[in-house]
C-alpha cells in the first residue's frame, strides 16, 4: 500500500462562540469554526448575514459581546486592530479603505510599519536604522505593487484609481504587512467575469507563494466554490453550514437561506 503523505492539519485560527449584539439586534450569534493553516476558507451568506461583522470581530475593529478567538494558540479576543495586525493578520475592507490622498506606493509602504521601528529622531536626523528601513520599505512596497500589476502607477493618488484597481491596491497593501493570515472582504465586488477568474488564480498564487492562510467573504458563489477548500455559511448571524464546497452547496439549509429570500 502506498502511503499518502498528508500535510499535517494545523488549526491556525479558532473562533469559539463569537457573538456580537447591537442593542436588541444579534448580528453574530455564537459562531464557531476552525481555520487550518494554508487553507482558503470561504465565508458566504445572504446580505446582512453578519459576515463583515464577523471579520470586524476577528480583526479587533469591534469588541465581541461574547466568545473567544485563538490565533496560533494565543488568545487574541478583543485585541485592538493594530495588535492583531502586528501578530500577522491583515485584511481588506468591504468598502475599500485606502488612504485616498496618498500615492499607491505610500499606501502600500504604510503596511510595513509593523516591520520597522525607526522613531522620530532616527527618521528626522537620518540615523540608523532609518535609512536602511526606508530602503527596505520602499523595496517591499514596490514588490507588492509589481505583483499586483500596479507598479507603473506607483506615484498616482489612490483615489484616482479605477474601482477594480483600488481593490488590487488594497490587497497589495495587505500583503505588504507580510501576514500569515489574509482576510479578504468581498475582493471580487464590482469585477467582471474575466477579472474574477484572474483574481481566483491570483489568490491561489499568493497563498502558495507566501504560505498564507486566506479567509474570504464573497457573494459570487461560483468563485467561492472554485477557489475555497472549505466554506462556512452564515445566515442571520448564525453558522448554518460548514464543509467542503460541494457538500455545502447541496445542503438544504443553505439553499433555503439563499432562495428563501426570493420567495
Amino acid at each position: 500500500m502506498s502511503a499518502m503523505t498528508e500535510t499535517p492539519h494545523e488549526t491556525l485560527l479558532h473562533a469559539q462562540g463569537m457573538t456580537r449584539r447591537f442593542g436588541g439586534l444579534i448580528a453574530v450569534n455564537n459562531v464557531s469554526f476552525e481555520v487550518q493553516r494554508g487553507e482558503i476558507f470561504g465565508l458566504i451568506g445572504p446580505n446582512g448575514a453578519g459576515k463583515t461583522t464577523l471579520f470586524n470581530l476577528m480583526t479587533g475593529l469591534i469588541a465581541p459581546s461574547g466568545g473567544t478567538l485563538t490565533y496560533a494558540g494565543a488568545n487574541v479576543t478583543g485585541l485592538r486592530p493594530h495588535n492583531i495586525a502586528r501578530r500577522g493578520i491583515a485584511r481588506t475592507f468591504q468598502n475599500i479603505r485606502l488612504f485616498p490622498n496618498l500615492s499607491a506606493l505610500e499606501n502600500v509602504m504604510i503596511a510595513q510599519h509593523v516591520h520597522t521601528r525607526s522613531g522620530v529622531w532616527q527618521g528626522v536626523l537620518g540615523l540608523p536604522p532609518s535609512p536602511q528601513e526606508e530602503r527596505r520599505t520602499r523595496q517591499k512596497a514596490t514588490e507588492m505593487l509589481t505583483l499586483c500589476g500596479l507598479a507603473n502607477r506607483a506615484n498616482e493618488k489612490a483615489t484616482n484609481f479605477a474601482y477594480g484597481d483600488q481593490r488590487r491596491l488594497e490587497i497589495a497593501r495587505a500583503l505588504a504587512l507580510e501576514p500569515q493570515v489574509l482576510l479578504l472582504d468581498e475582493p471580487a465586488a464590482g469585477m467582471n467575469p474575466n477579472e474574477k477568474g484572474t483574481l481566483s488564480s491570483f489568490i491561489r498564487d499568493i497563498r502558495d507563494r507566501f504560505d498564507l492562510t486566506v479567509l474570504l467573504i464573497e457573494h459570487h458563489v461560483p468563485l467561492v466554490m472554485g477557489l475555497c477548500d472549505r466554506v462556512a455559511v452564515l445566515n442571520f448571524g448564525e453558522l448554518i453550514a460548514l464543509g467542503d464546497p460541494a457538500t455545502v452547496q447541496r445542503d438544504p439549509a443553505v439553499i433555503e437561506a439563499y432562495l428563501g429570500d426570493a420567495q
Partner: protein
Amino acid sequence: MADFFTSNSGVIVSMVLAAILGLSVYLPLMAGQLSLASPGFYALGGYTAAVLSTRVFPHEGGQIAFGYIVLEMLAAGVLSGILAIIVGIPALRLRGIYLALATIAFVEVLRVLSLNLTITGGAIGIFKIPQPFNSQHQLPYLLFAVPMLAIAMLFVARLERCRIGRAFTAIREDELAADAMGIQPTYHKVLAFTMGAILAGTVGAVSAHVLNTWNARQGTFDASIAFLAFVLIGGSRTFLGPVFGGLVLTMLPEVLRAVGNIGGLPKPVTTFLKDGRFIIFGLLLVIGTIFFPQGLITPELVGRLRGRTPPTPPAPTADPLPAAVR
C-alpha cells in the same frame, strides 16, 4: 531702508514666530487632529519664561543673559510636553468635533487659572520681563526666531518623509485603516499633539521676552482662531502652508493699518482697516472653508512651482463604477 526694518521690527519678529505657531497647529493636524490647544501651551511657555526670568534667574536693570532664555525655552518645552501628554492621552481618544471641543475647554481652563493664580500675576499678569538684548527695537530677537523657524520647518519636512510621519498621515487619511495596518492611533496622535505643544511652548517663552509683559490675554480664543487661520488658509496639507499663513496673516493687519493711516479716507474705512483684523480673519475662514478647504498652499501648487507637472487624471474607462474610496 534699515529704518523700515527697525521701525517694523515688532511685526517682523511676530511674523516669524507666527509661522512657527502655525506649524504647532500643523503637527497635530498631520495626524488628523484638529487641535485648538496651541494657545494654551503658548501661554504656558510664556508664563514659564516670565516667572523664571523675573523671579528665579538673575537679572539686572531689565537685562538678562542670553543663556537663560535658552534655559527658559527648554523649561517651557518640557512643561508643555508633559502637560500635552497628560492631557493628550485621555483627550485624543476622542475624534473630530469632540477633540476640538476638548481642546477649546482645555485652553479656557488654563486661561481662567492664569487669571486667578498668584504666580501668574492674576489678571494683570507679569510685566517688566527682562530683555537679553540692549536694543531699541526687536530685530535682535530674530536671532532666536529665525533659527527656530528654520529648525521647525526642517524637522517637519523630514518628519513627513519618514516612518512616523507616514504613520501620522495614514491616521489622518483613515484612522481605522491605519489601525488595521498595525499603526497604533493613540500613541501617534499623542506624539503629534505633544510635538505641537512643545513648539508652541518654546515660542511662548521667547514671546514673553519680546513683548515684555505676559498675561491671560495671550492664550485666548482669538489666538485659537488666528492660529487656525494660519493653517487652514495658509495650507493644511503641506508644512509650507502654515508658514505662509503665519507670515502673511500676521503681516496683513499691519499692512491694512498702514493703509488706514493714509490720509483722506473716510473714518469708517480707516477704523475698519486698523481694527478690523478679526473681521477679516473670520471672513477668510468662512470663504476658505468653502473655496479653499485645503488652504492656499497646496501640495499640487508646490509641485507645480517646482516644475513638476501634476499627474494626469486617468482616461475614463469602461468601468461603470466610480472610484469608491470611502
